[in-house]
Symmetry: C2
Subunit: 555 residues, 2 copies
């Protein structure tokens, strides 16, 4: 009936010219493949999320000019594309403080183009303004769910959130829509693609209408868009699906035979396998796109001989190639020889460049430099932090001198409780695994070794007791509960916003819970100076969790 | 007619018990002073902005319990107070992604209490969601502008933004309101208090109704609330006004004789004087409250002998007392003796503790440590950054060992173009002057010396050419245009969102403008790891300006 192509593309935020060129290329490819309608994701012209670039009038104008150029490339084909529409009305009628507001009223929009003409525009009706989303900062919601005629086909277009909230699809079907197209920029977290598929199947089935869903792909700062665009038929059966984490053009004919869904037993197993694999691939894309889109080629990673830096190095190697990863061991007087050996073996297994830069001399210089000030004091966390900061400085020096990006290696559990050194091991341009809880770090390491069919991450790294190795004989469990206890407490507190009392009632030791919560709250200042990290859970630190630093709430 | 008290108080975010105790104290004081109605600011029970604490159901419950306790303290007096109201309806009807949303529908609200009873609740109608504000992330807007009976008086209550946007006051007056009370948490920027007074005068005059306005006071992370609560009569004349930047109880009787406004010539002069004085006092409050509310006593500041660190030390001394400020000079081989002398003289003039910790030994240790890696390279910014990072580490070591808070000293112009070292001079818990453009740093230094009636900040510091002193003979103008040129370009680009073309059309050199804009855009990654800074302009870096790091827009 209609031959549709989902153009699951990877734009770059702000690169309006580059994105436009890519869009035009995909239109040509679709036309060459006899496609009737090619669909691009939400805000594909600007990239998503464009954030406060939307407050620049010149940016809005550039996006409009790009749309005009794209319209001229639509001979003999129909196109649906995300862009920023505007009206000249002021955003709000506030005469006193307009400087912080868009000058014009903006709409997050989809344009339907056909054969060199603009057929119509649908404004997004439901603007997400939670977690990482700030759409009400920029946009006004649309006021009308519309249906467009494309030849004989009645077409309803809606945008991302419009599909999640009850109403838009229902209204469009009521108006006669025979096909719903949803254009999205839906960021990844573990399990979300399954949720999305269930949602789309439910909407299609409930409304007896086929739904074509196109999602952005690519990494953008802390967000990863995972693609997996799809088409469901009017019975709610999946008839086409794009790759996850890869750019692609998914072509299907609406009305083709449905693919039978897997039965429940298979599906349950698939989910379990999917989660770790999904997270692994999301991290690869997040690393690769941050590095490449920001013009870097190589990354440098401090290798402590521990599991976090090992996993980070493995991910970077997969994402960028071994020749683009530099590992550096920076032993102090405290560092055990087995740590250096483990780091070396890891680097050899990965095939990456490996350097050893001892920091003993610098540690001694700091000791001398501060001896007068510290003369009547006992060693404490100060001396531990100095070592971590020297290592951070060494990595930054290599970054400055050779143009490498520093990947920091801290995990989510550490970052949550502040078990990390600001300006030390927290130094870097991107915190690759800072949304990965420690217990999941182990799962990812095991997955990676299994994927490679070898102990690329050495067994000794996986089995040793976690230690920051900043003090002789130090173990993480000197300061923290075991990660099997810590991680569920953190999950309840951070992801579920549960109170201290509720978490204790779940069966955890009251003192442990109190101490963990105290640490989470009192380390907000560190997290606000942390490099961005790749979001893989529903609630990551960063723009999705906005906490005051000055905060006396203790609940 | 009605004796009203504006309780311009300084709560702490999250300190529901402490805030409640303070509120009850002020109610008692007002009662003792025969007040009929005492008015507290917006969200005074929780502190403002509570941010994602609002997503914790236990926090909302604690705020409701506090309100109940306050109600029981209102014998023989009426109280208007800001709190979080809720209904049990879900925030949005989205079945799939509720984890990031409040569990219940929340309203930013004012309660009218009288003689032990809750008389009524007004929900905020207009929710700001621009600049630093995220109220649509948490709250639903009210649906009705109400009028309450308090004895014989018909009273309209509205909340902050409701006064700025046309509609609420007008509707309440239409419903018979004889007095409008606005409760606010309106953050400071230079000139805003004047804007606020003009607004309130205009609304009072246009609606022929007296307006009592109470604003929060205090510092909260990057925000300063400046108080200056006031009452305007129905002719738009000011009849009472509270202090700026200080907690106070402002009592007045509505219907008392209006204070004659100053004539235009006086007013213009007043404004000019006010701006620098206002900014100076805002910075003092911002520093004092950040330090005290976070449990610190002393601060430590690196003194380079330059104007930025001199101003920061002067502000800290005024805010905290000389005995709570430690200045540290950290000379390298490049540091001139005049820099150390200037730092020493400044410290003497301020009466603060002064330390000299030479970093030469540590610099040499880094040189040796990196000699193998850097053997075929020429010195560049890497070696400059190493010095800055050693200094940052020394300050952090003093912080770790002695519990001092590090104040970083960078100004807004530097931070804008990235003329600062991440993990070096950017290290600290609070960036005291990071929203102060360099040209204004000089004005503040001059204001301070005039205020003290002495050259506390030595003349030589004020007149020397700005230099980072990280390379022999280095001057800021080697890398940057003069600040008299740079600052207006930055203002146009950052605060006014003007395009490159527009700024060039203002008469600036095209190459200079292009380079400045390039630097601003490419240093976003540094700013996102900067300590919070005190907002004194309409557009500060931080939560009020949300830019992607990965960003290829060049306009």
């Amino acid at each position: 009936m209609v031959r549709i192509a989902l153009a699951q593309v990877n734009p770059t935020v702000g690169d309006i010219d580059g994105n436009t060129a890519k869009i035009i290329e995909y239109i040509k490819e679709a036309r060459d493949k006899s496609v009737d309608l090619v669909v691009f994701p939400e805000l594909v012209i600007t990239g998503y999320p464009p954030k406060d670039l939307l407050l620049k009038p010149s940016f809005i104008d550039a996006n409009r000019r790009a749309l005009a150029r794209i319209i001229s490339e639509t001979a003999d084909i129909a196109v649906i594309i995300g862009f920023v529409d505007h009206s000249n009305a002021p955003f709000v009628s506030n005469a006193y403080d307009l400087s912080a507001l868009p000058k014009k009223t903006l709409y997050n929009s989809a344009a339907l183009l056909h054969d060199g003409r603009l057929i119509g525009i649908q404004h997004k009706m439901h603007l997400p303004n939670y977690d990482v989303f700030d759409e009400k900062r920029y946009f006004k919601p649309g006021t009308e769910n519309r249906v467009f005629n494309l030849g004989n086909l009645k077409l309803g277009i809606n945008i991302c959130e419009d599909l999640w909230v009850d109403g838009s699809t229902e209204k469009q079907v009521e108006l006669g829509a025979e096909l719903i197209v949803n254009i999205s920029a839906s960021p990844f977290y573990a399990g979300k693609s399954r949720l999305r598929r269930e949602l789309i199947a439910m909407r299609a089935q409930a409304n007896k209408v086929p739904i074509a869903y196109v999602n952005l792909v690519g990494g953008q700062d802390e967000l990863v868009f995972d693609g997996r665009s799809c088409v469901f038929d009017a019975r709610g059966a999946l008839i086409a699906e794009g790759e996850q984490f890869e750019e692609c053009l998914v072509i299907s004919t609406i009305d083709s035979a449905p693919i039978a869904p897997p039965d429940e037993a298979d599906r349950a197993e698939m989910r379990e396998k999917e989660e770790i694999e999904e997270i692994f691939n999301a991290l690869l894309l997040g690393i690769r796109d941050y590095v490449r889109k920001n013009g870097f080629t190589k990354v440098v990673i401090g290798l402590s001989g521990g599991i976090d830096s090992a996993l980070t190095a493995a991910l970077a190697t997969e994402a960028l190639g071994a020749h683009n990863v530099v590992g550096v061991a920076m032993p102090s007087a405290i560092t055990s020889s087995s740590s250096i050996e483990d780091a070396k073996r890891l680097a050899e297994n990965l095939g990456i460049e490996f350097k050893v830069i001892p920091i003993v001399d610098a540690v001694n210089a700091y000791t001398r430099m501060l001896s007068e000030e510290f003369k009547d004091t006992a060693p404490d966390v100060t001396e531990e932090n100095i070592q971590a900061r020297i290592r951070g400085n060494v990595l930054m020096a290599l970054s400055n001198k050779f143009g490498y990006l520093v990947l920091s290696t801290g995990n989510k559990s550490e970052l949550a409780v502040g078990y990390c050194t600001l300006y030390g091991d927290m130094s870097g341009g991107l915190a690759a695994i800072s949304d990965v809880p420690k217990t999941m770090v182990y799962k990812l390491a095991a997955y990676y070794n299994k994927l490679k069919g070898a102990e690329v991450i050495p067994h000794s790294i996986i089995t040793k007791a976690p230690s920051a190795e900043l003090r002789a004989g130090q173990k993480d469990t000197d300061s923290l509960p075991p990660y099997e206890v810590l991680d569920p407490i953190l999950h309840a507190y951070i992801e579920e916003n549960r109170s201290k009392e509720e978490i204790i009632a779940m069966g955890f030791d009251a003192e442990v819970v109190s101490e963990v919560i105290w640490k989470v709250d009192h380390n907000e200042y560190k997290r606000q100076q942390a490099p961005i990290g790749i979001k893989i859970t529903p609630k990551a630190f960063g723009t999705g969790r906005r906490m005051p630093i000055t905060n006396r709430y203790n609940g």
